[in-house]
């Protein structure tokens, strides 16, 4: 219940935070802490130092930018849910209103969730579907990581040693685009056993483009490219959706546990892909 001892610091600037991170290879950044602190309490993690980002003003806040939106890394789920600038991203709001529970949503941050890369977190699926960009800063300067390149593997992202996520950019949604996120939650933890986010663009009665993000099922979040291809060009009817998702889980690296074994989880990928697409199109 009590973590191992560590030092604690609250840098006021990103430069200060980066310097601290560079100075101690066993230091960790602290955002909302709702993934990190529980693992420290169970002593599954024992960083020597926590660098709390809460006092760095530039990491906070949501703003509209170029038709899209920029979400500061330290924006909490609750703040995102309430943000006027994010209202159009229905899939994001679907996720930020059901992640964890009220208290998790009050403390957990969007940047923290992305950096952790938990395979069962909700947001990765949404960010994949929305085609987000992750903005990071490190000793080598700033860079933007396309979401498709971000999730590398189990609890592993494209973040380099010493890099800090500063914000997430969401591109403007193309005309005729609607989005949704649905989750099949673990009955105990509430994490996604399967979570699917869909962004579907309808044009002239056809699906002209779509992005489908999957989380929970495998070692890291991924796009369902086969489903995207099958759905694109279809009329978006229930029959065409059913056909597009029929083998959605095939070929994926799927994890199993006591709540959902591999075969079951694979089958649920199809079911929840269908539900996400139906929900997205229903919002069109």
């Amino acid at each position: 219940m009590i973590p191992s001892a560590f030092e604690y610091a609250t840098p006021a600037t990103l430069n200060e935070a980066m310097a601290m991170l560079a100075a101690d290879e066993d230091a960790k950044l602290l955002a909302g802490g709702h993934s990190l602190l529980p693992t420290m309490k169970l002593r599954l993690a024992a960083p020597t130092k926590l660098i709390d980002l809460r006092k760095i003003g530039e990491l906070r806040g949501v703003s509209a930018s170029g038709g899209g939106a920029r979400i500061g890394a330290m924006t909490t789920y609750a703040e995102a849910t309430a943000s006027a600038a994010l209202k159009g991203y229905a899939a994001l709001i679907d996720a930020t209103s059901i992640i964890g529970d009220t208290q998790v949503r009050n403390r957990g941050t969007i940047g923290g969730a992305m950096a952790h890369g938990d395979p069962a977190a909700d947001l990765p699926a949404v960010m994949l579907a929305l085609g987000a960009t992750v903005n990071v800063i490190g000793s080598a300067g700033s860079r933007a990581i396309a979401i498709d390149d971000f999730f590398v593997g189990m609890l592993t992202t494209a973040l380099e040693e010493g890099e800090i996520i500063t914000s997430i950019d969401l591109p403007a949604l193309a005309a005729g685009t609607s989005t949704a996120y649905v989750k099949f939650a673990n009955p105990a933890s509430g994490y996604a056993m399967v979570g699917v986010a869909a962004s579907v663009t309808m044009s002239g009665g056809k699906v002209s483009a779509c992005r489908i993000g999957l989380t929970g099922a495998g070692p890291s979040a991924t796009r369902l490219e086969g489903v995207e291809q099958a759905l694109t060009g279809s009329d978006g009817s229930e029959a065409s959706i059913a056909s597009a998702v029929a083998n959605a889980g095939d070929g994926l690296d799927i994890l199993g546990d006591i709540h959902a074994g591999e075969d079951y989880r694979r089958a649920m990928v199809s079911v929840y892909a269908k539900r996400a697409i139906v929900a997205a199109i229903a919002r069109a």
Binding site: P187, A188, I258
Partner: protein, 779 residues
């Protein structure tokens, strides 16, 4: 002065003001100056030899007072209080701290005492324990097979007992039957998860030799008795206080290693010490419940008439046996297997099996939920196979006629109206309407299910003589003392213990009525061995039927004493005195009276007082019931199954309970709600899973689904009392009914929803995955 009748009133609880303002006093809330904290190092292996333990680095860690291993402490056993008759019971030896061998994950191998818990835990990480792993067995059926890993020398095939019960001519019953339903049933392992984990604090006064233990338990006197028997501490030197206790559900009845260790360590160090269990420890090292695999054969005539029942159950007892363990899958289970039915013949065998898992003992309902689930599930399978409505096959087989009724199990049912209860439930809860809605939903492709369960349980535990015949090492009477102070204010002392049940309210209600004093004048004391005479504690839905009756009888004794005093003051014959509304008066001459307060005061002054009467106004009763009570009822569950995912959503849950007369409907209803929630938890969500290496996979609330508020339905509760003749209030008990009756109702509803898919049965828990797998298999 007129006092309102309190019996039957839905009074809000007097416990609540402290609990809703954060002023409850649970063990960890009690401020003990100078208290040192204990961290227990536990085995990560399920079965291993301990080859060495090196504590030197831990002892050198700053802030550490002492580190204990098994070699530093006397070999004090963790006791099992039951020796089943005629069952070849072999009780495994299990000690408070492992020395040479561990047999389940979470077994204590060392204790670190330090200034704070963080330091204690830091130091514990420096203890080096070398283990030599042994083969592991976690499954009861595998554990009894030849060649399975053996846990203890001298307990062959890990069989700790083989218990049998029979009644009627079972061979004739099966020979004459037309249909035999055979089914293997799993009643999965559960983890009680009281919201307050266990906690023990001890303080030893080396000057007086007095030792105080604050312990979160359900029965402080039994805890004291066992500690004293095992450690040699005198009972008059050990005070056990169970203050506010955050739920028990059976798991806080037993004496565990930790209470013995805290007692031993505080005395050894002459320093106050405290251990507070983490939830992770609670999962690993607080008793679990259920874990049966049963082979059932139930014989019927084609008409649906029940002929006989054969059950063979493998009960997984875990790696050792705590206080009640052997009773749970035997006398608390087998004796209820005829349910509310006129069953002509029965044969039950329970094989108690040791495995490399945490000990299994009483968990809410304790044996009776297992019995009720088995019987009610198989009744539904039979109804399905014989093409009879589930309500009708039950009606056809109910016990009807006169009570008491001697069941084939040997249980003497006190009272009940099983058919009347079912009829009320079906009518009030709209069984026919739900069938119509189900058909409508089906036409739209939705799968609604309606499930019935008619339960019975044995409560008011228990007549001491019967407990003795069952091999129990205690009596299960209860005590109640009422002390009326000279001013007329009342303090009542009960051996029952409230950890959520509301005794401070309900017991004051019944005393107020009987003693004719205002409710607000009555205080209830419980949970402190230095205040309360003796007590057996709270479990088995016994508090009101046994503990309440003890108080009632003490109040009646006081009224009788008051009549003698009043008769003396009024110069009348005691037989001519009647007591009503706080006034003793001469029959037929209401103006010749003495108020309660005058009588009580005179009992203390004793100036003008009967020569043959002792002064003072206090009475004590040790009430030993002559029979169990037998609550019964009908539960109806409505569920919807999502055929694509297998997910079951409970939509409604209806309860028609006969718990005898209802003292406080608000509290009784709350007990039903909570019980039902735990029964639904078993039906749909909860599952304790060990892997083949004996690691508890469902070892935290991240993996073990304690039901959330979003996972449970709203409940409708009604009472249909048939008073019990077993006690003067006619009460039966309601603490466990909800759990006992609800699991089968949900399971039956799920199978009902899937009836068109040719699915006969799915084992518990009916998780999305298990239901989906069954749907796929049936395709």
């Amino acid at each position: 002065m007129t006092t309102e009748t309190m019996f039957g009133r839905a009074l809000k609880r007097r416990e609540d003001p402290r609990l809703i303002t954060g002023r409850g006093q649970y063990v960890d809330d009690i401020q003990i100056p100078g208290v040192q904290r204990i961290f227990f190092l536990r085995s990560p292996y399920a079965h291993a030899m301990i080859t060495s333990i090196d504590t030197s680095a831990a002892e050198a860690h700053p802030g550490v007072m002492k580190v204990y291993t098994g070699k530093d402490l006397p070999a004090v056993p963790v006791p099992c209080g039951v020796n089943l008759p005629d069952s070849n019971q072999k009780t495994p030896p299990y000690f408070m701290i492992a020395t040479d061998r561990v047999r389940h994950t979470g077994e204590i191998v060392a204790a670190v005492v330090a200034s704070d818990i963080g330091t204690a835990r830091d130091a514990a990480e420096k203890i080096v324990v070398e283990y030599d792993p042994l083969p592991v067995v976690v499954d009861a059926e595998k554990s009894v097979m030849d060649g399975a890993p053996q846990l203890y020398d001298g307990i062959d095939n890990n069989i700790t007992f083989d218990w049998k019960l029979g009644g009627g001519d079972i061979d004739a019953a099966f020979a004459g039957a037309e249909v035999v339903i055979k089914q293997r049933l799993v009643n999965q392992r559960l983890i009680p998860n009281a919201m307050e984990p266990r906690a023990v604090a001890g303080r030893y006064d080396s000057a007086t030799g007095d030792l105080t233990l604050w312990d979160t338990d359900q029965n402080p006197h039994i805890i004291r008795l066992l500690i004293c028997m095992l450690t040699g501490i005198a009972e008059n030197k050990l005070r056990v206080i169970a203050p506010d206790v955050g739920g028990g559900f059976g798991s806080k009845i037993f004496l565990y290693a930790e209470q013995l260790l805290v007692t031993t360590i505080t005395k050894d160090l002459a320093t106050p010490v405290k251990w507070v269990e983490t939830r992770s420890e609670n999962f690993q090292a607080t008793t679990h419940g259920r874990d049966h695999v049963s082979y059932v054969e139930m014989a019927f005539m084609k008409s649906g008439k029940l002929c006989g029942l054969k059950v063979k159950t493998y009960a997984n007892m875990g790696a050792f046996m705590t206080a009640f363990a052997p009773l749970v899958p035997t006398f608390l289970y087998g004796t209820l297997l005829s349910g509310v039915y006129d069953l002509p013949a029965l044969r039950v065998e329970t094989i108690g099996v040791l495995t490399n898992t945490m000990a299994v003992d009483a968990y809410r309902g304790a044996g009776r939920p297992e019995a009720s689930y088995l019987l009610e599930r198989v009744m539904d399978i039979a109804a399905d196979e014989l093409n009879i409505d589930p309500a009708e096959i039950r009606r056809m087989n109910f016990i009807k006629g006169e009570f008491p009724h001697m069941a084939v199990t040997g249980m003497n049912y006190d009272s009940g109206d099983y058919e009347g209860n079912l009829d009320k439930a079906l009518a009030q809860f709209g069984y026919a309407d739900w069938r119509a809605k189900q058909a409508e939903a089906k036409a739209k492709g939705r799968y609604l299910g309606i499930g019935l369960s008619c339960y019975i349980e044995a409560c008011g535990i228990a007549p001491s003589k019967m407990v003795g015949m069952m091999g129990g090492g205690v009596g299960l009477w209860e005590s109640g003392t009422i002390r009326v102070h000279p001013t007329g204010k009342v303090t009542a002392y009960t051996g029952a213990h409230s950890h959520g049940q509301g005794h401070e309210t309900t017991f004051a209600q019944l005393i107020s009525d009987t003693l004719g004093v205002p409710y607000d004048n009555v205080e209830i004391v419980h949970g402190d061995t230095n205040q309360v005479q003796f007590g057996m504690g709270t479990y088995g839905s016994r508090s009101l039927a046994v503990g309440g009756t003890a108080l009632l009888k003490s109040a009646q004794k006081l009224v009788e004493k008051g009549k003698k005093i009043a008769a003396h003051l009024l110069e009348a014959n005691a037989a001519d005195i009647e007591y009503k509304d706080g006034s003793f008066s001469v029959k037929g001459s209401p103006d010749r009276s003495k108020a309660f307060g005058e009588v009580v005061l005179m009992a203390y002054l004793a100036h003008n007082y009967p020569a043959d009467l002792e002064p003072g106004f206090e009475e004590q009763t040790f009430f030993d019931p002559t029979n169990f009570t037998f609550p019964e009822g009908t539960y109806m569950a409505i569920v919807e199954v999502d055929p694509e995912t297998g997910t079951v959503t409970p939509l409604n849950f209806y309860c028609m309970d006969d718990c005898g007369n209802v003292l406080n409907p608000l509290i009784a209803e709350g007990q039903v709600h909570g019980g039902v929630a735990q029964g639904i938890g078993q039906a749909l969500y909860e599952n304790a899973v060990y892997d083949e290496n004996g690691q508890l996979i469902s070892g935290s609330m991240m993996d073990y689904a304690v039901p959330k508020i979003t996972q449970l339905p709203s409940y409708t509760t009604e009472f249909a009392p048939v008073p019990s003749p077993s006690n003067p209030m006619g009460v039966k008990g309601i603490g466990e009914a909800g759990t006992i009756g609800s699991t089968a109702a949900i399971a039956n509803a799920v199978m009902d929803a899937l009836s068109s898919m040719n699915i006969r049965h799915i084992d518990l828990p009916l998780t999305s995955q298990n239901v989906w797998n069954a749907i796929q298999a049936a395709k």
